[in-house]
Amino acid sequence: MRSIAVWTVKGGVGKTSAAVNLAHAASADGLRTLLWDLDPQGAASFYLRIPSDLDGAVESITKRSVELSALVRPTEFDNLSMLPADFSFRHLDLALGATKKPRKRLASKLTGLADRFDLVFLDCPPSVSLVSETVVKTADAVLVPVIPSTLSMRTLHQVRAFVNEHGRGIEVLPFLSMVDRRKRMHNELGLACLADPAFLTTAIPSASVVEKMGVTRAPVAATLPSQPAARAYAALWWEIRGRIEI
């Protein structure tokens, strides 16, 4: 089983949309995929219509004796399951901090899911916290959405510095997100980003169909598969699949 964290420290850059749409693309590709919503806002859970009110959600992560798999929920989509968020995740930092070896605990929780899933996407809260640090130490790769803007690119530097400090050679996979081709700065900075070989070459466009996921409550490809945004997520998934060799 491989695990991909979707993380950045800046909000509103298309992180959760990417996590949901990429998890859907991976599942459509035949992989038994789990989307784990670690963000207390529960946006990924909302998009997939999974109630985010779990009893014992924090304990299922921090306590060895509580089975995490019992909280896994099926979604409407083939091969795609979800571990929904819970508002109590806002205290997850404190609870993880109280465990002796948070990374080891999370790793063992993931191992417990290995016979049921081929791939886990972890939608992380957009902050520098013990949760993100633990996830970065545990996952196989970190996917970082980057809007072609000065601030967002500055954030990528921060993410890379954080991963270098805490990760163990974990692969950072930045990709261009919410790209508006009508904006000159997006085009110029986008090109500059793609000169960096670490960047995935597929850019996710800024699209109203992605924004409408809050209304349709489904991945873009499930409702409007021929839209450019849906095709872009599918292409991005293929690129990621090649990079992490799954």
Partner: protein
């Protein structure tokens, strides 16, 4: 995931808890084709594999306590190598081994997916309503369709207490779709499983065994002719060999004049199907040949593989001709008539108890092996080992014919001990036969100016590797035979053959 029969008067929406709503999607029509190997390897492992075709084509892997795993496909996979990469291939491939997937049942399904939503529009449970009509071999629906309800999620949370009154379905519809084709899960196994009674007459026991073997031969004819996988022919030939072994090992039960012509005819069947089996073995061995050679030599084996495949195509045509022939049809018809004849065989042995016959013949076969092995020096000649291999096979067949007459644990232990010796003797023989045949192929390839010298050299190298392996088996033989003929084994055989084994 739970599945239930859904009675026509059951109102799902009305049985939901308060504040919940049923949202149903559009109806889709699809054909579901259930796939398994001819000998039910997936079903035996608790796995159901369904191909769904309608809007696109996909394979769906169903296992209890697991979410279904589905994979889009362009064509139906035959052998394990055709499976889409990933979990499906990892799970199914090893179960299939060298066997092909074949359709074992099909149904027309009208499907509607739905979800139970709470007031926030969140999913409380996922529902699937299927109206399933099993299809016969011609693709016609001949029985009344059934309605099923599949539920994923927590029935309690959806307020579905009333589901407890519904009849649960446990097999994903497999029994229903196979029944209309006259089959049932697990109805074929290459293993001989005849339930005999120790007190029944030897005559009736032997007829039961031979009828079971005749059924195995017949069951494998179609698959051999259509060349679905190499195991059809293999099973057919093993049943044929077991039949001949039974005729000779259980001599005297059927009258000699009755048995003799059939023995000759089954010998003919074995002979005419032998060359195709030999060529199958080479093709099955090919990955093994590649594994022992350096990667650079892989291309050198291409002309050999090509030669084997073209020779095999001719051999397959000739086997298909045999299986379509009047001679084969007559053999099987008259053999069945002979075995099903109501008047008992007139011989004295035929009237004895089945257990007596089994005890005597197993003991005799075991003693024959001990006697032959006792005469061996440190380096027995290949011919003597070949005869010992055949003796061991005869004993193995007898143990399998009569296994139901003995405690299962005891007979399985003896078969396993014998198998260890057989593996070594079989390995010795296989290496010898393959080495000789490779030399023949090398001669044939040598005559073809298009074949590069490197190919001939690689085949020679392969023959040398096989000779080394043969030597390895030869070294292992002595210890294996000592074990099989030792005091402990003699005592164990004595216990299953009425005290006759250790003498």
């Amino acid at each position: 995931m739970s599945r239930y029969f859904l009675p026509t008067d059951f109102d799902v929406a009305a049985s939901l808890g308060p504040g919940l709503e049923l949202v149903i999607g559009p109806q889709k029509s699809l054909t579901t084709t259930y796939l398994d190997t001819f000998d039910w390897r997936l079903w035996r492992a608790g796995v159901v594999l369904v191909e769904e075709s309608g809007h696109g084509r996909r394979l769906v892997l169903l296992e209890s306590d697991r979410e279904p795993n589905s994979h889009a496909i362009e064509a139906r996979p035959g052998l394990a190598a055709d499976l889409p990469k990933g979990h499906l291939a990892d799970r199914i491939g090893p179960l299939m081994g060298i066997r092909a997937l074949i359709p074992i049942g099909a149904a027309h399904v009208d499907r509607r997916d739905g979800r139970v939503e709470n007031a926030d529009g969140d999913i409380v449970a996922l529902l699937r309503f299927d109206r399933v009509a099993a299809l016969d071999r011609q693709g016609n629906s001949t029985t009344d369709p059934i309605a099923t309800l599949q539920l994923r999620g927590d029935p309690g949370a959806a307020g579905f207490e009333s589901l407890d009154d519904l009849t649960a379905l446990v097999d994903h519809g497999l029994e229903m779709v196979t029944a209309v084709r006259g089959r049932r899960p697990g109805d074929y196994s290459s293993k001989l499983r005849v339930a005999l009674d120790p007190e029944q007459t030897a005559d009736s026991a032997v007829r039961r065994i031979l009828l079971d073997l005749a059924a195995t031969i017949e069951a494998n004819v179609e698959g051999t002719m259509t060349d679905l996988d190499s195991e059809f022919l293999h099973d057919l030939r093993v049943a044929c060999r077991r039949t001949r072994s039974a005729l000779s090992q259980l001599k005297g039960v059927l009258a000699a004049e009755t048995a003799a012509p059939y023995n000759a005819e089954f010998k003919w069947l074995g002979n005419v199907t032998g060359p195709l089996r030999d060529l199958d073995v080479y093709l099955l061995e090919m990955p093994g040949y590649h594994a022992v050679l350096p990667a650079a030599a892989a291309a050198d084996l291409e002309p050999l593989e090509k030669l084997i495949r073209s020779t095999r195509n001719r051999a397959l045509k000739s086997v298909a001709q045999v299986l379509r022939s009047t001679r084969f049809a007559r053999l099987m018809t008259s053999w069945r008539q002979t075995l099903e004849a109501t008047e008992p065989s007139p011989t004295a042995i035929a009237a004895c108890r089945a257990i007596e016959l089994a005890d005597t013949r197993i003991s005799k076969a075991y003693r024959r092996i001990l006697k032959r092995g006792a005469g061996f020096d440190d380096d027995p000649p290949a011919e003597a080992l070949h005869r010992l291999r055949i003796d061991a096979k005869k004993l193995r067949y007898l143990l399998e014919f009569f296994r139901s007459l003995y405690p299962e644990q005891v007979i399985t232990a003896r078969i396993n001990e014998l198998k260890q010796l057989q593996d070594i003797l079989g390995g010795l023989n296989d290496m010898e036969v393959q080495r000789k045949r490779l030399t023949d192929f090398a001669h044939e390839l040598h005559g073809d100016p298009a074949v590069p010298t490197s190919c001939i050299l690689t085949v020679g190298r392969l023959a040398a590797i096989l000779e080394e392996r043969q030597e390895g088996f030869r070294m292992a033989f002595h210890d294996a035979f000592m074990e099989f003929s030792g005091r402990r084994a003699r005592a164990a055989f004595s216990r299953i053959s009425g005290g006759k084994g250790s003498k």
